[in-house]
Subunit: 218 residues, 2 copies
DNA sequence: TGTGTTTTGTCAGCCGCTGACGTAATATTC
DNA sequence: GAATATTACGTCAGCGGCTGACAAAACACA
């Protein structure tokens, strides 16, 4: 084909450009098909065909079908980490994480991540993807621990605190996510509310005895 | 309908007995092969052959290869829940969980669960199984939340606290488990130590600012 | 333009997993 | 003890995820 007229300004070369575009194309095809037909009912051959390549090529770009979802989630996480770095330095780690989540949500609300931004919502729609998401939570946790470590000046390799904080934070999020799924709601704002409810509960839940069983009206 | 109460005895019948034995046989074959050759390199056909049945029969007893590991872990969890119920009623929930873990370990130390008891250690040996374990952590979390709910008289369906506590507890355990794997240690006692270290860190990590970065020697 | 490297499609194949169907083992009834 | 219905099992065929190997096409560099 042509394309020889386009002069790449950067040193990255035409090849890597194509690779990046192919990767984006495959991910977009996959996420769209997942959204339309469901994760389970979408085959890797369909994804490849939708992107105009062979199945083998799909597996050269993504290690597995699950990896597509994972990478979308990780791209979204990336911005959460940026939000964390932007929080004032005097905020305690856990508080900073909570507030970064609020900032992050405000960013997602403006929708610059289009399909990827809805990846988490997509996960909610199909129980299979919840497990897929779970499967990778230790990868997310490692990345978050690193971000927490950078913020606090603590090395996650020698100090267990960043890892513990990351794990606790993500597990509380997961609980909120599950409750949101169970409620059948599709309102993204309610999802943030569920997140914050659980996060705010963590200190009280691990500290001392609990207040009376059910303070709700009966 | 037929009169199934021909025999009022609690005799479950030969058939169900055989089913139970077959199930045990398959699980034992699987766990032993996993232990010897690794999870990945053990095929479901080998498991079936080891138990003297066809592959199809294996899949009639277990929904997936992963399920075998999951059920082993759940069997072990079962006793953790019992230990939790035995803790004094005046212990706060998180403390009770922590201490139940210690009791539970003492039980495992006596080795009545033989192969199943080593399932968690097996998980440590193969990175693939860590992901398998992760995949099911929300199932474990639900069961633990129920146990916590029973102990505290709180309904997990309406009060989010049991779910949050269960999630935080298990995620802290997972962190300890990962650290233990990373250290390359195969000493089970060190694993318990890693668990307790992380659990004891949780309150301090979510509460306020952190103490100086790294108090350890350089 | 020609040469060496990277990327792709095709093919073959393993493995996890499932539906369908016939058969053997078990339980029930006479 | 024979006839019956019920249940478990083996065999077979097949799908979908995933991988190695090889040849052809696309690209980079000179």
């Amino acid at each position: 084909m042509s394309a020889t007229s386009a002069e790449p300004e950067e040193q990255v070369g035409l090849r890597e450009r194509k690779k990046a575009r192919m990767r984006e194309s495959l991910m977009e095809s996959a996420l769209r098909l997942f959204h339309e037909n469901g994760y389970q009912r979408t085959t890797t051959e369909e994804i490849a065909a939708c992107a105009g390549v062979s199945q083998r090529t799909f597996f050269r770009y993504f290690g597995s079908k699950e990896d597509v979802v994972l990478e979308a989630v990780e791209d979204v996480d990336e911005h959460l980490f940026a939000s964390l770095a932007d929080r004032p330095a005097d905020e305690p780690p856990f508080t900073a994480l909570r507030n970064a989540m609020v900032d992050h949500w405000e960013y997602l609300r403006r929708g610059p991540l289009h399909l990827k931004g809805s990846a988490m919502g997509m996960v909610a729609d199909s129980p299979e993807l919840i497990e897929v998401n779970m499967r990778y939570c230790h990868r997310r946790q490692h990345r978050l621990a690193r971000a927490v470590g950078e913020r606090t000046g603590v090395d996650p390799a020698t100090d267990p605190r960043p890892g513990v904080l990351a794990a606790v934070f993500l597990s509380a999020l997961a609980t909120g996510h599950q409750a949101w799924c169970a409620s059948g709601s599709h309102d993204k704002e309610r999802l943030l509310g569920a997140f914050l409810d659980r996060l705010d509960l963590v200190p009280e839940v691990v500290e001392g005895p609990w207040s009376p069983p059910v303070p709700s009206p009966g």
